[in-house]
């Protein structure tokens, strides 16, 4: 079976080139047609591959560009794409959800300036994301990894005339560079220790050495985790994601919720054989995941911007995925990645629909009562809220439950992780229902705005994603991990039992319902209570509202010293002093020696004649005087100089 994997990234790339080069001169309908056909065609190629895989075709399927890439001594790195169960699932999510969001964008961006620019960036993103997913070795993955960062930067700063948007783009890019540094170091270490960057070869070498644990593998895994923390917005590098909400809302849905930010989880799962050999690295991953999950959830409790609530929720849910990776339940992480892609894309798109209907208003305090005005948006978003809260039988329940179960049965530290996850689930349920109540229930808080339901290009994807948010989890973790088994292991301890699983599920659902009840009490039954609570604890409320002042701490500890060093040491000493000084020295020497030598060019005829005569005399002297007789060694030296 031949799949033509190369078409999957290159079709969106063609769309990017067409729209990027010609878009400004094309009519809008043609721009949208090109932009929609590209991901649709990719989705078709992926779907054909998926059909044959589900029909029993064998995997993995490797496709390598025959031209080769890097051939240096024993090092051979090629443009190779690998289709296995893991990349197939990821591709379905990326192209499927990506296509839906492209459709939605046609409606959402219809009034925006730079329509063609938006769609060419979006296609560029799909190109790099599919390269990242299909990559058969770490270097090709790194191309995609950097590329999605670029597309993310371009789209966050899409409204580049707004300073906050341009700054947010830069922040995302710079913070991601820190993570990329970890990825690069990990690649160098992989090359040094394995001599290859191809994932399957590294896995095979590890399988041949079952005793190889810890040591350099821990270092590699931690460096990879640093990269993943940058891309997937984990502590300590999560700060860029909430700011990334400056981009258009469909971008937040596609890049900063459903696909790109999950690249870190995907990368950890892709290189799971390294993490499996290092219990310490796994523990670090789990702790980072759990800490991020609960930390971001607490910030999400009090935010007023609808997109920021969702952004912190994304950070928190990504923390869940890393928690799953940390307990080596990679298929649970990927399962949550998939369901999260469905319901978080839905939530963002529904939020976008709300913002669109409210004429650009993002503040929850000015919303309310939208249930009647935007019924379809209301119902689809309700599905998303229930799904993320983790209430049976919506998609989020199945994946979140799988993660909590995997953590619980690990025992020991796993119990702590489970408890943190459970508290996070409570907080998640609370802030999502808070958002839901504030947006749709009660009476409108800005009567001067007349909200309207969005066009069908926007509602269509909402309905499809709502259906996926309901049904997406029904496949169940057992069947899902059985499907993924050839790619990633699902190492759940044997301590579990069916009764325990059901008990934990009931606890999780009860927690989610409790969160709903609290939100119901705060925002419907007794509307003043939340404000009262905030007033009673101004210190805590201010701390959380200001996101624990993490941005300010980073500014004081890192950004300001860095700027000071750049200004005083790098600029004044290195640039002006050393580099500028060297340049001045060179120029000054030329000017100075020129000033001396120009005396020779006196313009005086007789001095030229004198030099001419002197030269002729010197030549005569050289030819006529028998130097060998006068000074015997001289000819030897001349001969040696000439090389005889």
């Amino acid at each position: 079976m031949k799949y033509h994997l190369w078409l999957i990234p290159l079709l969106p790339f063609a769309g990017f080139l067409l729209n990027g080069i010609l878009g400004a001169r094309l009519p809008k309908w043609l721009v949208s047609t090109i932009a929609l056909l590209a991901p649709l065609a990719s989705l078709a190629v992926v779907a054909v591959a998926a059909m044959s895989v589900f029909g029993g075709a064998s995997l993995p399927y490797v496709e390598t560009c025959p031209l080769g890439w890097i051939n240096a001594g024993t090092l051979h790195i090629g443009y190779s794409f690998t289709l296995d169960q893991l990349s197939l699932v990821m591709l379905l999510v990326v192209t499927g959800v990506g296509f839906l969001i492209h459709i939605y964008s046609v409606g959402y961006m219809s009034h925006e300036e730079g329509y063609w620019r938006y769609f060419s960036y979006l296609n560029l993103f799909l190109f790099f994301m599919t390269v990242l997913v299909l990559a058969g070795n770490a270097l090709v993955m790194f191309i995609g990894w950097e590329g999605v960062g670029l597309a993310s930067y371009l789209l966050i700063g899409f409204y580049y005339k707004k300073k906050s948007a341009a700054d947010a783009g830069k922040k995302a890019f710079i913070v991601n560079r820190i993570g990329d540094f970890g990825f690069l170091i990990a690649m160098f270490l992989l090359l040094a220790n394995f001599g290859t960057l191809t994932f399957s070869e590294i896995g095979a070498q590890l399988a041949l050495n079952p005793a190889w644990h810890g040591g350099v593998l821990t270092v590699i895994a931690l460096c990879l985790m640093l990269g993943a923390a940058g891309k997937s917005a984990q502590i300590p590098l999560y700060i860029w994601l909430p700011d990334a909400m400056e981009g258009p809302t469909p971008v937040s849905a596609l890049i900063h919720a459903a696909t790109m930010v999950t690249a870190g989880v995907y990368m950890v799962s892709r290189t799971h054989f390294l993490f499996d050999r290092s219990p310490m690295a796994l523990l670090v991953v789990a702790i980072i995941g759990a800490a991020t999950a609960i930390f971001a959830a607490t910030i999400g409790l009090v935010q007023h911007d609808i997109k920021r609530v969702l952004a912190y929720s994304t950070v928190s849910q990504l923390g869940y995925m890393f928690l799953a990776c940390g307990v080596a339940a990679y298929s649970a992480a990927i399962f949550h990645l998939v369901t999260h892609a469905f319901f978080k894309a839905l939530l963002f798109l529904a939020a976008g629909s709300v913002i669109h209907g409210m004429g650009g208003e993002q503040d929850l305090r000015k919303m309310g009562g939208l249930r009647k005005k935007m019924p379809i948006t209301f119902w689809t978003m309700t599905m998303g809220v229930i799904a993320i809260a983790g209430i049976w039988p919506f998609a989020g329940f199945f994946s979140k439950d799988a993660i909590l179960y995997a953590a619980f049965v690990q025992g020991g530290s796993g119990r702590v992780l489970w408890f943190v996850g459970l508290v996070t689930a409570l907080l998640t349920s609370f802030y999502m229902f808070r958002l839901w109540y504030k947006t749709f229930m009660g009476n409108s808080r800005s009567p001067e705005v007349h909200p309207h339901e969005s066009p069908w290009t926007m509602l269509g994807p909402l309905v499809v994603l709502a259906a996926l948010s309901i049904c997406g989890g029904w496949i169940g973790i057992e069947r899902f991990s059985a499907f993924l088994a050839p790619s990633v292991s699902h190492r759940v301890a044997e301590a579990g039992s069916a009764q325990l699983e059901i008990l934990l599920s009931v606890v999780a659902v009860a927690t989610a319902l409790l969160g709903w009840l609290v939100a119901d009490r705060f925002y419907r039954a007794k509307p003043g209570q939340a404000a009262h609570l905030a007033e009673a604890n101004p210190a805590i409320y201010g701390l959380v509202l200001n996101k624990y002042f993490v941005d300010e701490i980073y500014a004081a500890l890192i950004v300001k010293p860095l700027l000071a060093i750049s200004r005083f040491v790098l600029y004044w000493v290195v640039d002006i002093g050393i580099l500028g000084g060297a340049a001045w020295l060179l120029g000054g020497t030329a000017v100075f020696s020129g000033a001396i030598l120009q005396r020779w060019q006196s313009g005086n005829l007789r001095s030229y004649a004198a030099w001419l005569a002197a030269g002729a005399a010197a030549m005569l002297l050289f030819v006529l005087v028998p130097w060998n007789a006068v000074w015997p060694i001289s000819m030897d030296i001349l001969g040696k100089v000439a090389g005889h």
């Binding site: 120009q598 060019q601 006196s602 313009g603 005086n604 005829l605 007789r606 004649a609 004198a610 005569a613």
Partner: protein, 107 residues
């Protein structure tokens, strides 16, 4: 009868005369201030060289040296024409023929 009359003049005499004339030309070129004198010094050098050409042509019974002399005289004639034209142009422009004061190329 002068016993030396039928003796050929030795080669060295010719060459010494040629070298003397050449050095006189060089010295005149270097120390004279008048442009026309400088110009004449150049002619002197050229003719000193011509003399040695002819001497060697006679010595070796070869005609090449004499042909060279014709070439040199031809070039010297052309050079004299151009050089004198330049001298006249310079004199018209600067109203002087002192070499030291014709230093337009000086910075």
């Amino acid at each position: 009868m002068n016993p030396y009359l039928h003796q050929p003049i030795p080669l060295e005499w010719y060459l010494l005369l040629s070298a003397t004339l050449f050095v006189l030309g060089v010295v005149g070129f270097l120390i004279k201030r008048n442009l026309i004198t400088v110009f004449m010094s150049i002619e002197l050098m050229l003719n000193a060289v011509n003399l040695s050409f002819v001497t060697f042509a006679h010595q070796w019974d070869a005609v090449k040296g004499q042909i060279f002399v014709f070439f040199v005289m031809m070039v010297a004639a052309a050079e004299a024409a151009v050089g004198l034209a330049i001298i006249i142009a310079v004199f018209r422009a600067r109203a002087t023929l002192a070499v030291d004061r014709i230093d337009l190329m000086k910075l």
